[in-house]
């Protein structure tokens, strides 16, 4: 359980954030300058808020009223920075053990062997940080934070400095941590793709304030949060189960209560829960079930909202079974098709638009 209620002035920026979240991975989402890093710096004790309290798993780390303000070294908060920040004068193994040596044995819940195995660090233990790739550095940084036996892991855009293949690699490792260790993670990002793939609960920050807290699928789909979540990033998340693998086509079908989705082969067994993220611009609408087209996914739904913004582009929300789907179409199409709330339509989603990065374990 993470309870944060803080007020802090940082120059002209005023941070006033209050949220409670209890989930394996809590996403802290917002545009750059929204105050995401300031929040986790306060949790880690790097900065001190003027007012409020911070409580992690029932342990009070900061309480201005009670005069509690633990220094960073006593908070047991693992911090993974954007650019790893390994100790350049130590080899990987010494980096990993730096924090562990400073914790008392009764606080230990994870040992070196387990971390090395979880993060695949075996081959690099004797190497110096300057010989590692960006992805390897980040893995060592995560391992180093874990071995300091933290109550919680804070990750500040850990993928920001990496190229796409490395991002995918680290995402896989973070998912392993979530599944195999029972340590809560606060994951800071401005990427909808990362947040929606990893997080269960999301906290949306905008201009130093917390504007929404809740289930990822629900919050990220809300049209009224567009100013904070960003229009370009609009999309929807659908909780599905793997229904079938089609070996000959290298496709997988994902089932949810609104129908089935064909996606390129997913590395998950049948019955497993996976989360599919569909970008709004990858969804087309039709008023009748189309025939003779290449698009594999045709889902029947009902329009629930039309974004009334200006400009040539319109965001439309529709209910497909119990799931919410966002579609981005032109204003011209909206008018030509006469799309309105309550109308039954068909949503078309190309299977190729659902690549590996948009399908993740739930």
């Amino acid at each position: 359980m993470i309870d944060v209620d803080i007020d802090q002035r940082l120059g002209t920026f005023h941070l006033a954030v209050r949220f409670s979240a209890d989930a394996p991975i809590v996403g802290l989402f917002g545009r750059s300058g929204a105050g995401k890093t300031s929040v986790i710096n306060a949790i880690a004790g790097i900065t001190t808020p003027a007012r409020g309290q911070i409580c992690i798993g029932g342990v009070s780390l900061f309480d201005a009223a009670k005069g509690i303000n633990l220094p960073p070294e006593e908070r047991r908060v693992g911090y993974v920075f954007q650019d790893a920040l390994l100790f350049p004068h130590m080899d990987v193994r010494s980096n990993l053990l730096y924090g562990q040596k400073l914790r008392s044995p009764e606080d230990r819940f994870i040992d070196e062997a387990r971390v090395v195995e979880l993060l695949g660090l075996d081959a690099m233990l004797r190497r110096k940080p300057n010989t590692l790739s960006g992805g390897e550095k980040q893995r060592v940084a995560i391992g180093r934070a874990l071995l300091a036996q933290p109550r919680i892991l804070l990750m500040d855009e850990p993928l920001a400095a990496l190229d796409v293949p490395r991002k995918t690699e680290i995402l896989d490792y973070i998912e392993r941590l979530r599944d195999e260790l029972s340590i809560p993670i606060v994951y800071v990002s401005h990427s909808v793709a990362e947040i929606s793939r990893l997080a269960d609960t999301v906290v949306i920050l905008s201009d130093g304030k917390c504007v929404a807290v809740g289930d990822v699928d629900e919050v990220m789909g809300r049209l009224d949060l567009r100013p904070a979540t960003g229009r370009y990033e609009a999309g929807s998340l659908i909780e599905t189960k793997v229904a079938a693998h089609h070996v000959e086509d290298q496709l997988t079908t994902l089932a949810f209560d609104g129908g089935e989705l064909f996606v390129p082969q997913v590395d998950a067994s049948i019955g497993e829960r996976v989360r599919a993220r569909i970008r709004a611009r990858d969804v087309s609408l039709a008023t009748q079930r189309p025939e003779g087209i290449s698009i594999l996914n045709v889902l029947a739904g009902c329009i629930t909202a039309v974004d009334a913004g200006a400009g040539p582009i319109v965001d439309v929300q529709l209910a497909v079974g119990g799931a919410t789907l966002n579609a981005r179409i032109t204003r011209r199409s909206l008018q030509q098709l006469g799309i309105h709330v309550g109308q039954n339509v068909y949503a078309l989603v190309k299977a190729v638009s659902l690549d590996q990065r948009s399908v993740g374990y739930a």
Binding site: E73, R75, G78, F87, P88, G99, L102, K128, N130, R144
Partner: protein, 233 residues
């Protein structure tokens, strides 16, 4: 050894002792001052900075004279040290070491400060979040990362100490066997008829000594950089 006379060995040993003691005693203070100047802003910081740098710009004779006035047997500080602690600097080799330390201090502080300022402070913050106290992080992260600057500063100050003349001769005079270091001895030989050859021999020794110090500094700096993983690979 290579025809060096016992007198010359004595001069050399004294010079090395004076320079070494001056460096060893001033290093902890230099690290402290450099850390303070690099990391904190406080009222009077500019003044502290200026005072530290003063020996670099003042004529050494002025520094020596100031030391003599303050720390001489009847000076305000010297008399107290003598009466209370029995410590005397005037006309002793320890005084020569003090003069060397003072003259080399700005060089030492500058080099250490530069390398402290080059450290990404977020690395220290990372160490704090891993459970390191302020002091432990300073010892295990900050100092090792500042090592190239500490080595450079130490050797610069050491070399400055070996060459120190003006402040030394003014403060502790030119007493053979006690305060007559290499430069003072060379000067003395040039002042006596027929002493040129001896002065030349000592000068050659001084040149060799300086080259050895430079080479050592270079080697140590490279080594510590390699240790820190800063070499180009």
């Amino acid at each position: 050894m290579l025809g060096i006379s016992p007198d010359e060995v004595g001069i050399l040993a004294l010079s090395l002792r004076v320079a070494a003691v001056s460096v060893i005693c001033s290093l902890p203070l230099a690290i402290l001052v450099a850390y303070g100047l690099a990391r904190f802003s406080f009222p009077g910081k500019t003044l502290v900075d200026a005072i530290v740098h003063l020996p670099l710009v003042l004529p050494p004779v002025v520094v020596g004279f100031a030391l003599l006035l303050l720390l001489g047997k009847h000076g305000p500080v010297g008399s107290v040290l003598d009466e209370w602690f029995g410590i005397v600097f005037a006309f002793r080799w320890t005084g020569a070491a003090l003069a060397s330390a003072l003259m080399g201090f700005p060089l030492m502080v500058r080099a250490i400060r530069l390398s402290l300022e080059a450290i990404d402070q977020r690395i220290e913050i990372a160490a704090r979040t891993l459970g390191g106290s302020r002091l432990w992080v300073f010892a295990s992260i900050t100092l090792p990362l500042a090592l190239p600057g500490i080595i450079t500063g130490t050797l610069l100050s050491f070399a400055r100490g070996l060459g120190e003349f003006g402040a030394t001769i003014t403060f502790v005079s030119n007493i053979p066997g006690e305060t007559q270091t290499l430069p003072l001895a060379i000067y003395t030989f040039t002042q006596v008829p027929g002493g040129d050859a001896l002065a030349l021999r000592l000068s050659v020794i001084a040149v060799v000594l300086s080259l050895v110090a430079l080479a050592t500094s270079e080697w140590l700096t490279r080594r510590s950089q390699r240790m820190q993983g800063n070499d180009r690979r």
